[in-house]
């Protein structure tokens, strides 16, 4: 059984690689390369897998999941500039692909201490673009 909860957060980013020329950055990232950055209302969907507890009938207690995602994710990215204020990006261009890997890694680390397993992290950048990784794909 899996359970999925989604949470909104708003953040800004600029897609720009220092390894590429100005022209190449413009070609690759287009309007996402705007020097002033821009923002999105993101959604992060967190999928947890496990057997429902025999007594409570829950895969994971909702309050615990909310607290965990709040502490590990929303506090890091909510109303932040992902280029400047998310040190875990460690120099990666904050595309939502990279953001998905980084946030999934952060969450997965914390899930190591719970009985439920993190199964999937999906980030919607807009309603039309979404990115997901299954935790089996993550390197520790």
């Amino acid at each position: 059984m899996t359970l999925t909860a989604r949470y909104p957060f708003s953040a800004s980013h600029r897609l720009h690689s220092p390894l590429l020329s100005e022209q190449a950055n413009d070609d690759v990232y287009g309007k996402c390369n705007n020097p002033h950055g821009h923002g999105h209302n993101y959604w992060i969907e967190v999928t947890v897998a496990g057997e429902p507890d025999a007594m409570t009938g829950m895969v994971i207690e909702r309050a615990k999941l909310d607290k965990l995602v709040g502490e590990e994710i929303l506090s890091r990215v909510g109303h932040r500039n992902l280029n400047e204020q998310l040190p875990e990006m460690n120099g990666l261009v904050p595309t939502t692909e990279n953001l998905t890997y980084v946030l999934a890694g952060i969450l997965n680390h914390r899930f190591g201490a719970t009985s439920a397993k993190l199964a999937r992290v999906r980030i919607l950048e807009t309603r039309n673009n979404r990115f997901e990784t299954e935790t089996n794909d993550l390197t520790q």
Binding site: M1, L3, T4, A5, R6, P52, T56, G57, M58, E61
Partner: protein, 156 residues
């Protein structure tokens, strides 16, 4: 006959016979429930279930997505007649659960806490016998308790 992936003639039929697909039907029902373990104190239930433990109960507009898998019939081009799917989902799930207080009116939730997880398992149990043939199998039950929270169950 239209070409199938660029192949026309008899080969297209063979290909379509082999094509396994998933098909999903969505239905909605609105129910009230209360999540609490009988025998636990109010404080303990409040701690574990939060507002879901409100002694007076509360409700949700549940959205159920049932995904079936099967082969596309050569003649009809369908996995299953969706009218039949709708009839089964209405009879087994919507009619018994819609506008009901699950804890009091829908067994086994007089005994089992009606969390989204347990409701999904009960729905799976109720509809499995109807989608367990050579041509169509129950693939997944996805139950949204709210827009922001859903469970997925595949029978194990």
């Amino acid at each position: 006959m239209k070409p199938f992936y660029g192949i026309s003639g008899p080969a297209s039929n063979i290909l379509s016979l082999r094509t396994k697909m998933l098909i999903t039907r969505r239905v909605e029902f609105s129910s009230s429930h209360r999540c609490a373990v009988p025998g636990w104190s109010d404080d303990r239930n409040r701690e574990v279930f939060g507002e879901e433990a409100n002694p007076y109960g509360h409700g949700h507009n549940y959205v159920l997505e049932v995904t079936l898998s099967g082969k596309v019939d050569e003649v009809t081009g369908m996995i299953v007649d969706l009218k039949d799917v709708k009839t089964i989902l209405n009879r087994e799930v919507v009619e018994p659960m819609d506008h009901r207080y699950l804890n009091a009116e829908v067994p086994p939730f007089d005994q089992v806490v009606p969390t989204a997880e347990n409701i999904a398992r009960e729905i799976w149990r109720r509809i499995l016998p109807h989608f367990n043939s050579e041509t169509v199998q129950l693939h997944e039950v996805r139950l949204y308790e709210t827009e922001n929270l859903y469970v997925e169950y595949r029978g194990q």
